[in-house]
C-alpha cells in the first residue's frame, strides 16, 4: 500500500495488529476507505510473520453477498499479493463460476476463495469437506450489514459455526457499514468467540445533500405527480455532471423517469440507460461496464444498483422520492465520489411537497449518523433443516454434536430439545404426526449413528435447490420476431389480456401471446400500463419516522433553519388554520365531513405497513362499539377510516380505542393472519425442501412432484397444525408483516401523547394525500362464510334450468 503512496488508516493498522494477536472481530468503516484491506492485509502480514502456522491449501474464505463484487475484489486482492511478492492465489467460486474451474478447484483449492453464503454451503455439502477446510485460518463476512437481518445471514451464521467446529482456532472477521445495532451485529457474527474486538474507523465520508425545490408550494400535495414537474431541474444537473446515477424507489418509477428524461431532452437518446431487476442480465452487465468506462451520461436505477462495484466516473447521484430510510440514503449517496476524501453529493427530488419534510428529517439523521437497525432473524427452521441436509451430504453428522453447533448460533440459541427433535424427525421420517411415514426417504441414520443421505437423487435435488433466495415466478419477455427483452413477474403478465400494452425496459410492448413461461410481445406505442409492484413501495423506517415527527413539530418554529421547512411555510400555515400541527408529544386526529361521508384521519407517522395494521385494528375496535363498515387508506404519515354514516366518537373514546391493552389479541382478530401466513409459507416451503423449484434432467414424472406451497400449507393447516414450519410462517407474519415490536412501541408512544382532536369541513395538507391514495381497501371483520353470503348478491345468480 505504501508503494502506491497511500498511508494506512488508523483502523486498518489496528485491525492488522489485532489479527496478528489471534483476535476475531468486526471492522466498521464507510465505503471507499479500504475496509477490504483492513482484514485482508492483516491475514497476509500474519502469514509473513508466522508462515509455519499456515498449512497448504485454502487459508482464507471471503464471503460477499453479491456475485458482482467478487470479481473486482479478487483482482484487487491478487494485485496486492503480487505486489508483496507472495505466491498465493485468489479465486472466485459462485453460481457464475465455470464448471471446469469449479472442478479444478475441487482438486486444488486456491489460498484465498471468494464465495457467497450459498456457494459456501455447497462446499460444506462436498464429500471432501474436511480436506477442503483443513488449513483454513480465517473467514471474513464482508458487507455483513447486508447479510444480517436476512435468511442469508442465518446461512452465514450456520456455516461459520460449522467451520468453527471443524477448525477451533479459526479467526472470524466481519466487515460492515454503520448500522443502528453494531453490538448486536458483532454478537451474531461471533456468538461463541471470547477473544474479539470491534474496530471502528474514525474517518467519515462527507455527504452533501442538495434539495431541488419546485417553483411553488402545493398546498394540497398529491403523492407522486410532482416529481415529473421537476424534470426540467434534473436535466441541467445531469448535463453538468460527468456521469449520474438517478435512483427511484420502484421499477415503474424508473421506467417513467426514463421516458420523462428522453422527452425533456431528446439528445439523451443513447446516452442514458435503465437498470432494474427486470432488465435482461446481459444488458445490465453491459450498462454496468459502460458506467465504469464513463460512456453513459446517466443511468436510471432502482435498488438494483444500491450495492456492487464502484463506478469511478459517477460524480452525481439523484434520488427521486424519499429513500424512506437513512441507511439506504447514505448508501446511495456513497455511490458518487469514491475516493476517501471526496464529498458524496446527492440531489433530492421530492415527488410531493410533504416529502420535503422527510428530506429535512433525513438530513438531521445523516448529520447525527442515526442509522437503522438490522434485526437478525431467529428460529428460521426452514434454513436449519436445509442446512442439516446439506451437512448430511458431505459425510453426515452425529446428533449431539450438531445440536451443540446449531445452538451455538445466535439464530438458534433459544432452540429447545423438543424443537430440535422435531427437525430431526422432519428430515428422517418426514414429520412427527401419525403413522404411515415408512415411505419417506430423505435422511437416514446409518450403523455408525450418523445422519446421512443415501439416495443419489435426493442429494442431487438438494444441491440444486440450496439457498434461501426465493424469487417470484418470472416470465421471459420476448419479441415474436425473436429477441429477448427481460424478465417480468408471472402475476403481472397473468393480469394482462392479449393486446394489452405495457412498458418494460423503456419500450411500449403489446402482449401477443403467452406460452409456457414466455410472454411474446411486439413493439407498440401509445398509452400503456407501467408494471407496478406492490413490494416496491418501501415503508418509512421507524428510525426516520422519529426524525420526521420532530421536523414536523418544528414546522412553524421561526428559529428553524431548514430550508425545506421554510419553503413549506405556506403549507404549514394552512394546516394550522384548518387543523393543527402535532407537537412531538401530541397525536393528531382529524375528523372531516364531506359530501361523500365521514373521514377520520390519524397520523402516527409509522410507515405504510404499520398504518395498515393500525387502521384494521381501529376499525375492528370501533366495530365492537358500533356496528360499522369502513374503507381504509393510508400512506407513510397516517391513515384514514371512511364511512358513509357518522360514527359518534368523542375524544375520550379515541383514547380508549388507542389503548395498548389487548393489542396483539385485537390485531389478530382484525386481520386475516392465515392468508398472510400462507404468503410467508411460500418461501419457507421452498427453503425447507417442501416445494422443489429445480429438478434434475427432463424426467417425465417431474410434474408429479409439483405442488404449490398453497396446497401444502392447506394440508398442514388441516392435518399437522403444530408443524414448526407452519408455526414459523405465523411468527414471520407477526415479526415482519405486523412488525409487532414497532407496533407496540407506537402504541406506547401514543398512550403517552396528548390527543389533539380537530373537526373540519375541508381536507388539510396532511389528509389530502391519504385521501387520494389509490390503494384503498374496505374492511369487514366477518368470517369467510358471511363474506361469501354477502358476495352472493353480486356474484351468484339463481340456478337456470338447462
Amino acid at each position: 500500500m505504501d508503494t502506491k503512496g497511500n498511508r494506512p488508516f488508523g483502523f486498518q493498522q489496528k485491525t492488522w495488529q489485532k489479527y496478528g494477536k489471534g483476535y476475531s472481530g468486526m471492522v466498521v468503516a464507510p465505503t471507499g476507505f479500504g475496509k477490504t484491506f483492513s482484514v485482508f492485509l492483516g491475514v497476509l502480514i500474519d502469514f509473513m510473520n508466522h508462515p509455519y502456522r499456515y498449512g497448504s491449501g485454502l487459508k482464507l474464505v471471503w464471503i460477499t453477498p453479491l456475485r458482482s463484487l467478487a470479481k473486482d475484489l479478487s483482482k484487487a486482492m491478487q494485485n496486492a499479493i503480487d505486489e508483496i511478492g507472495l505466491d498465493w492465489t485468489v479465486e472466485v467460486r459462485n453460481g457464475d463460476t465455470d464448471v471446469k474451474v469449479r472442478q479444478k478447484q475441487t482438486r486444488q483449492l486456491p489460498d484465498v476463495l471468494l464465495v457467497t453464503p450459498e456457494s459456501l454451503h455447497l462446499l460444506l455439502a462436498q464429500k471432501r469437506r474436511d480436506q477442503i477446510f483443513k488449513s483454513l485460518q480465517c473467514v471474513v463476512a464482508d458487507e455483513w450489514h447486508e447479510l444480517l437481518g436476512s435468511k442469508r445471514g442465518v446461512m452465514t451464521e450456520l456455516a461459520l459455526a460449522y467451520l468453527k467446529y471443524l477448525r477451533p482456532q479459526l479467526q472470524i472477521w466481519g466487515i460492515t457499514a454503520t448500522i443502528g445495532n453494531l453490538d448486536e451485529a458483532a454478537d451474531v457474527l461471533l456468538p461463541t468467540v471470547t477473544k474479539k474486538i470491534t474496530v471502528t474507523a474514525r474517518e467519515r465520508k462527507k455527504t452533501e445533500i442538495v434539495t431541488l425545490f419546485p417553483d411553488e408550494v402545493e398546498l394540497l400535495p398529491w403523492a407522486g405527480h410532482l416529481g415529473s414537474r421537476l424534470v426540467d431541474k434534473v436535466v441541467p444537473v445531469i448535463l453538468k455532471s460527468r456521469s449520474t446515477l438517478l435512483f427511484t424507489n420502484t421499477r415503474s418509477q424508473s421506467e417513467n423517469w426514463y421516458q420523462l428524461l428522453l422527452e425533456a431532452h431528446p439528445d439523451f437518446a443513447g446516452q442514458i440507460a435503465l437498470h432494474h431487476s427486470s432488465i435482461d442480465a446481459h444488458l445490465r452487465q453491459w450498462i454496468e461496464d459502460a458506467l465504469s468506462s464513463g460512456t453513459l451520461k446517466a443511468v436510471i436505477a432502482t435498488s438494483s444498483l444500491d450495492l456492487g462495484v464502484d463506478f469511478k466516473p459517477v460524480d452525481t447521484v439523484i434520488q427521486v422520492g424519499s429513500s424512506k430510510g437513512v441507511a439506504r440514503f447514505i448508501q446511495r449517496a456513497g455511490r458518487s465520489g469514491h475516493s476517501p476524501f471526496e464529498t458524496s453529493r446527492i440531489y433530492f427530488v421530492p415527488t410531493h411537497s410533504l416529502e420535503l419534510i422527510e428530506i429535512a428529517a433525513l438530513k438531521e439523521a445523516v448529520k447525527t449518523r442515526t442509522v437503522e437497525k438490522r434485526d437478525p432473524m431467529v428460529m428460521t427452521f426452514d434454513v436449519m433443516v436445509q442446512f442439516l441436509v446439506t451437512i448430511t451430504l458431505g459425510g453426515g453428522f452425529d446428533a449431539p454434536n450438531m445440536f451443540r453447533i446449531i445452538t451455538g448460533c445466535h439464530a438458534f440459541s433459544m432452540l429447545t430439545e423438543e424443537e430440535w427433535n422435531w427437525c430431526l424427525t422432519f428430515i428422517t421420517v418426514g414429520g412427527s404426526i401419525g403413522k404411515n411415514y415408512e415411505e419417506f426417504h430423505k435422511v437416514v441414520i446409518n450403523e455408525e449413528n450418523r445422519y446421512v443421505v443415501e439416495k443419489r437423487r435426493i442429494a442431487m435435488i438438494h444441491r440444486m435447490n440450496m439457498g434461501v433466495i426465493v424469487s417470484d415466478a418470472m416470465m421471459r419477455v420476448k419479441f415474436i420476431s425473436g429477441g429477448y427483452i427481460g424478465m417480468i413477474e408471472e402475476y403481472f403478465i397473468s393480469k394482462l389480456k392479449t393486446g394489452d400494452r405495457f412498458i418494460l425496459s423503456g419500450r411500449v410492448l403489446e402482449l401477443v401471446r403467452t406460452k409456457e413461461m414466455t410472454a411474446y410481445v411486439r413493439l407498440s406505442s401509445g398509452r400503456a400500463i407501467t408494471p407496478s409492484w406492490l413490494g416496491g413501495r418501501l415503508p418509512l423506517s421507524s428510525n426516520l419516522s422519529r426524525f420526521l415527527r420532530e421536523k414536523l413539530a418544528q414546522g412553524l418554529d421561526p428559529a428553524g433553519r431548514d430550508p425545506e421547512l421554510k419553503f413549506l411555510h405556506p403549507l404549514f400555515v394552512r394546516q394550522v388554520q384548518h387543523s393543527a400541527i402535532p407537537g412531538q408529544d401530541e397525536f393528531l386526529i382529524e375528523k372531516i365531513r364531506t359530501r361523500e361521508g365521514h373521514h377520520v384521519f390519524m397520523y402516527p407517522f409509522e410507515g405504510r405497513l404499520v398504518h395498515e395494521i393500525m387502521a384494521s385494528l381501529l376499525a375492528y375496535r370501533i366495530s365492537l362499539l358500533y356496528p360499522s363498515s369502513f374503507s381504509i387508506a393510508m400512506n407513510d404519515y397516517g391513515f384514514e377510516l371512511f364511512s358513509d354514516t357518522e360514527i359518534p366518537l368523542e375524544q375520550a373514546q379515541f383514547e380508549q380505542l388507542l389503548t395498548r391493552e389487548n393489542l396483539m389479541e385485537d390485531v389478530t382478530a382484525s386481520i386475516n393472519a392465515t392468508e398472510m401466513a400462507k404468503k410467508k409459507f411460500r418461501d419457507i416451503a421452498v427453503i425447507s425442501g417442501l416445494v422443489i423449484q429445480n429438478l434434475p434432467g427432463v424426467q417425465r414424472n417431474n410434474k408429479s412432484l409439483q405442488a404449490s406451497s398453497g396446497i401444502i400449507f392447506k394440508v398442514f393447516e388441516e392435518y399437522d397444525p403444530q408443524n414448526l414450519l407452519l408455526r414459523q410462517a405465523y411468527s414471520e407474519v407477526f415479526n415482519q408483516q405486523l412488525e409487532e415490536p414497532r407496533l407496540t412501541a407506537a402504541f406506547d408512544r401514543i398512550a403517552k401523547s396528548r390527543i389533539v382532536y380537530k373537526e373540519t369541513f375541508q381536507f388539510t395538507p396532511l389528509s389530502f394525500p391519504i385521501k387520494v391514495d389509490s390503494l384503498r381497501q374496505s374492511l369487514s371483520s366477518e368470517d369467510l362464510a358471511k363474506r361469501i353470503e354477502k358476495l352472493q348478491k353480486s356474484y351468484f345468480k339463481p340456478n337456470k334450468k338447462k
Binding site: 404411515n436 401444502i712 392435518y719 381497501q777 374496505s778 369467510l784 339463481p798
Partner: protein, 220 residues
C-alpha cells in the same frame, strides 16, 4: 361433513352435484368422481417431501361416506385414480374395495394412470375403459374430443376465484358446465385449482364445506 347437493339437468337427466367433490346419478345409481390422485402424498414422501399421510386417508374416508350415503351400483372414476406409480397408499384401495361388495369400481383411464392394467385389476378395479357411454352420457378423462355427446369428465381441477372487496381473493373448487361438457372437481384435497378457463357460456357450481351454489364468473 355436511352434505349439500344441487340438482342439475344435464342431457335431460337429473344429476346431483355435491359439495363432497362427486356427482350422483340416481336413475342409474352411479356415483362419479375424478382425479383421486391416490398415492400422491406417498409419492412426495418417497422423494423426500414431508407431506402428511392423513390427506389420503381423509379422501378415502369421504368416499366411504359418499358410498354409504348414496346407493351405488357403479362407482365411475373418470381418470387419474393413481398419481404416480405403485406405493403403499395404492394398496389402501384394495382394502377399500372389499368394504363395498355390491359396488362395481370402474376406471376411465387418465393421463396419470400409467401403472399396468393387471395391477389396477389386482388392487380391485373391476372394469377399465378409455371412455364409457351410459345412456345419453359419455364419460372420459379429458374434455377435448368433439363427439357431439354429452360428456362428463375431469382432468382440469376446475375452480373459481372470488374477488373480495378488500382486493384479496379466495378460490373455491367447482363443477363447470359448458354446452355439452360437464367437468368434475378434483376429488383429492391434495390438488390445486385451475381457475382460468371456460368461456362466457360456462356455468360454474362452486362449493364450500357447507354449501353448493351456482356462480357467475364476472372476470374472464
Amino acid at each position: 361433513m355436511n352434505f349439500a347437493q344441487l340438482p342439475l339437468n344435464f342431457a335431460s337427466e337429473e344429476l346431483l352435484l355435491t359439495n363432497q367433490r362427486a356427482l350422483y346419478w340416481e336413475r342409474e345409481r352411479i356415483l362419479v368422481l375424478s382425479d383421486l390422485h391416490l398415492g400422491k402424498a406417498a409419492h412426495f414422501r418417497k422423494n423426500g417431501i414431508a407431506v402428511p399421510a392423513q390427506v389420503t386417508h381423509n379422501d378415502l374416508l369421504r368416499l366411504q361416506r359418499l358410498l354409504k350415503h348414496y346407493p351405488t351400483e357403479r362407482l365411475l372414476i373418470v381418470g387419474d385414480l393413481i398419481h404416480a406409480g405403485k406405493n403403499s397408499e395404492i394398496e389402501l384401495l384394495h382394502e377399500f374395495v372389499q368394504q363395498f361388495p355390491s359396488t362395481r369400481f370402474v376406471l376411465i383411464k387418465g393421463n396419470h394412470d400409467r401403472i399396468p392394467d393387471t395391477l389396477l385389476q389386482k388392487i380391485g378395479i373391476h372394469e377399465l375403459h378409455e371412455s364409457l357411454t351410459v345412456g345419453p352420457l359419455r364419460f372420459s378423462h379429458e374434455p377435448g374430443v368433439q363427439t357431439g355427446l354429452y360428456t362428463v369428465c375431469g382432468h382440469l381441477h376446475p375452480g373459481v376465484r372470488l374477488k373480495l372487496p378488500d382486493r384479496s381473493s379466495i378460490s373455491l373448487p367447482c363443477f363447470a358446465v359448458t354446452h355439452k361438457t360437464l367437468i368434475l372437481p378434483a376429488f383429492s384435497h391434495f390438488t390445486g385449482l385451475h381457475t382460468r378457463f371456460g368461456t362466457k357460456d360456462t356455468e360454474y357450481f362452486a362449493f364450500t364445506e357447507n354449501a353448493i351454489f351456482p356462480f357467475q364468473q364476472k372476470i374472464l
